[in-house]
Symmetry: C2
Subunit: 497 residues, 2 copies
Amino acid sequence: MAKEITNRTENYSQWYLDIVKKADLADNSAVRGCMVIKPNGYAIWENMRDQLDRMFKETGHVNAYFPLFIPKSFLSKEAKHVEGFAKECAVVTHHRLMNDPNGEGVIVDPDSKLQEELIVRPTSETIIWDAYRSWIQSYRDLPLLINQWANVVRWEMRVRMFLRTAEFLWQEGHTAHATRQEAMEETLRILDIYTKFAEEYMAVPVIKGIKTENERFAGADETFCIEALMQDGKALQAGTSHFLGQNFAKAFDVKFVNDKNEEEFVWATSWGVSTRLVGGLIMAHSDDSGLVLPPKLAPTQVVIVPIPKPSPEIGEVADKIMKALRDKGITVKYDKDDQKRPGFKFADHEMKGIPVRLGIGMRDLEKGQVEVARRDTKEKNFAPLDGVADYVAQLLDDIQQNLFNRALQFRKENTTRVDSFDDFRAIVETPKEGMPEAWGGGFISAHWDGTTETELKIKELTKATIRCIPLDAEEEEGQCILTGKPSKRRVLFAKAY
Amino acid sequence: MAKEITNRTENYSQWYLDIVKKADLADNSAVRGCMVIKPNGYAIWENMRDQLDRMFKETGHVNAYFPLFIPKSFLSKEAKHVEGFAKECAVVTHHRLMNDPNGEGVIVDPDSKLQEELIVRPTSETIIWDAYRSWIQSYRDLPLLINQWANVVRWEMRVRMFLRTAEFLWQEGHTAHATRQEAMEETLRILDIYTKFAEEYMAVPVIKGIKTENERFAGADETFCIEALMQDGKALQAGTSHFLGQNFAKAFDVKFVNDKNEEEFVWATSWGVSTRLVGGLIMAHSDDSGLVLPPKLAPTQVVIVPIPKPSPEIGEVADKIMKALRDKGITVKYDKDDQKRPGFKFADHEMKGIPVRLGIGMRDLEKGQVEVARRDTKEKNFAPLDGVADYVAQLLDDIQQNLFNRALQFRKENTTRVDSFDDFRAIVETPKEGMPEAWGGGFISAHWDGTTETELKIKELTKATIRCIPLDAEEEEGQCILTGKPSKRRVLFAKAY
């Protein structure tokens, strides 16, 4: 089975698609641009969602639900927002179908034309701030810390499963505050939550930073982000947190009376992560045998395979082990299929990324042991039956840590400081030994003169973009790699998804 | 505060809307037909969702996600389905906006017209069965037990918060089976889950039954339902489970090879409950002081109010009680607002339906006790500080049971067997002492001749419809109340939401 997927180095894009398909994560749909998230893929998203939801609630956020549709005129209310989002979107113009008088099927009833077209939300700032106007009167109504789990649509025809689809699932937080400082603190609090989630749950190290003006969210004063490096040397934006200033409050006339009895516009943030994270998770850890999942997000953490096939004795031992594992909160399945051979099962469980496999055979049982295989390194060991649950719990922790360390090491090895445009170009354009064919060049730390013009020129010449100005960038006098103009700190470049 | 809501008997519809507004459950939105579910309302839906999701997973179901959009032609593929669902729906005809060349704002780009219009899903049978065609080849691929949590749109202009809105949230299960019998068993298994959920979690007794042909889901061979009685004597359909036969398999050409190596069409079910259940929950239990929630679905089960205001001593006791309650899995909040008086807080917590309120004052503390008020009966008692968590846990169970018993008693008192059309009409049309002004008449058990014609005639004359043929209806020779024709069992009539 493992032979059926393309090698990473040969064709990274095809390798990715092969995994999505063979691990049964997603499927194309009849609607161009939209994917079907299959149960195996959705279970990963559910684990992500549950964990993020817990983190949001622990920091005082609550969930709500706002309409799918946005009146067309709303998009125009915030000057920059309209430029960013009133482009490729799904437009609802009619509200009724009727039988085709000329034949078969149904047609759109021309009499059902809407007075104002509705846009399927590409993001919800406008409809939410329209609601906030009646929810907020006084500083006592603030802060509002609201999140929404929803589907959004941004028309896209070049689909890449999970990474870019017309419809995707996400969470979008929309908070309202009495002061600039509070809103800025919230923006950064969320960035920390996203960072913790990416590193501790996804086992993906990320760089926290600020977007340049050119890459900023349409309608934000400042966009913060976390950026991760994939195995093909390209960057993935894994989450954004926007400080919106008073822009949407002004556009939708949301004022409050402060504690000095003065009227002021409300301060805002918005932030989101999406099913794109599932794509990032796949690309960060997986290998040529299939999906590799960090234990903390794996829908099934352990699979038990009877060797060579199910028997009452093995079933009894498996039941005991499963009970002991479940008592520790570990998810486990027993593969009791009696048609397939162990070798086939091993390959299948590897393809699907189950972190730990226990093999139980009569010979091992006589020795009081079971075989333990870990997915990340593919190492096999024997563990004594006594205390096997403790052994597995520790192993799952080790795997989680190992995946993070491995990804961190990879990032270190593929982050380069450069001081000339020739070097920059060489790194972005030169294939790297042992790496995927379409090697992106990794992260490049370089000086930039701070202008959008230079940023766009570098993008035009190399396809690399400024991913962010890292929050921890040190002050350092330097010269822009393209123009030679002075620069005060290095920024992070990469080709990006 | 309680004075601000209308009495149930005076104007039941207004009373309902007052509760939705004053308990902060939902709000109107700028999009006609769509509502905003506010955090208090959404938290109830989240509890419902989590519990149902657990019950689905315990019976082997998994979640997935299918596209929001359905190609228009798909709706026509199943002959009956198209009649039921290709009516009032949101139709996407274009995929781009552009700046208005004549002035301000944005307009729909006429060049972005879609070749085939897309319908925002009113239900997902068609798009899902189109996907199943490639997922199912052999009996080994069956059963497929898939559920989806999603938003759907059915164009509605006469909105009633939660009960009828253009967009609503729901779950829709879509299962595929190798045999008729298995599919029928699944249909009934889900009906049992819905029943258990309604009765044990919502504390709402329901009648399980089969819909008449006229009320059947468009595309189903048989629709099963649960029906609940609201306080105004009207029925609410609280969930449906459809046996779809091979209709969608035939429409989308989904065949499998059975264990005798023969090709067959796949058998199907679909089933769903929606945010309408939140409306049903409100209407079933609430009173003239506001919302009443069953403890098992209440986002906050206990509130602690310091009397007359917060103090370090009271705070310390409250902390201990909160810890003890949380250790038992009970959700609790401490109302530490020092601006509002206890009387105001009591009314507010009553309005929001928190099942148990603990009042802590210094005088009671000296006696080693706290005041305990239960929301359902408004009774107050004192409980010893020692063991107060056990006391509260028991009280929450009692409230849950009491709400169910009360609703069951109400249903018994308002279910009438009638044997003539005059009696039928009198019950449906006569106001009832002490009941809401627009009294619906409750459930009526009567004989019917089995024809759609008679069913529609009774509806025309009385507005009452056949809610279901109860599964436990006894065989009984009788005569149709309208036509006098023979009937073998009574069916359940009511005016319905």
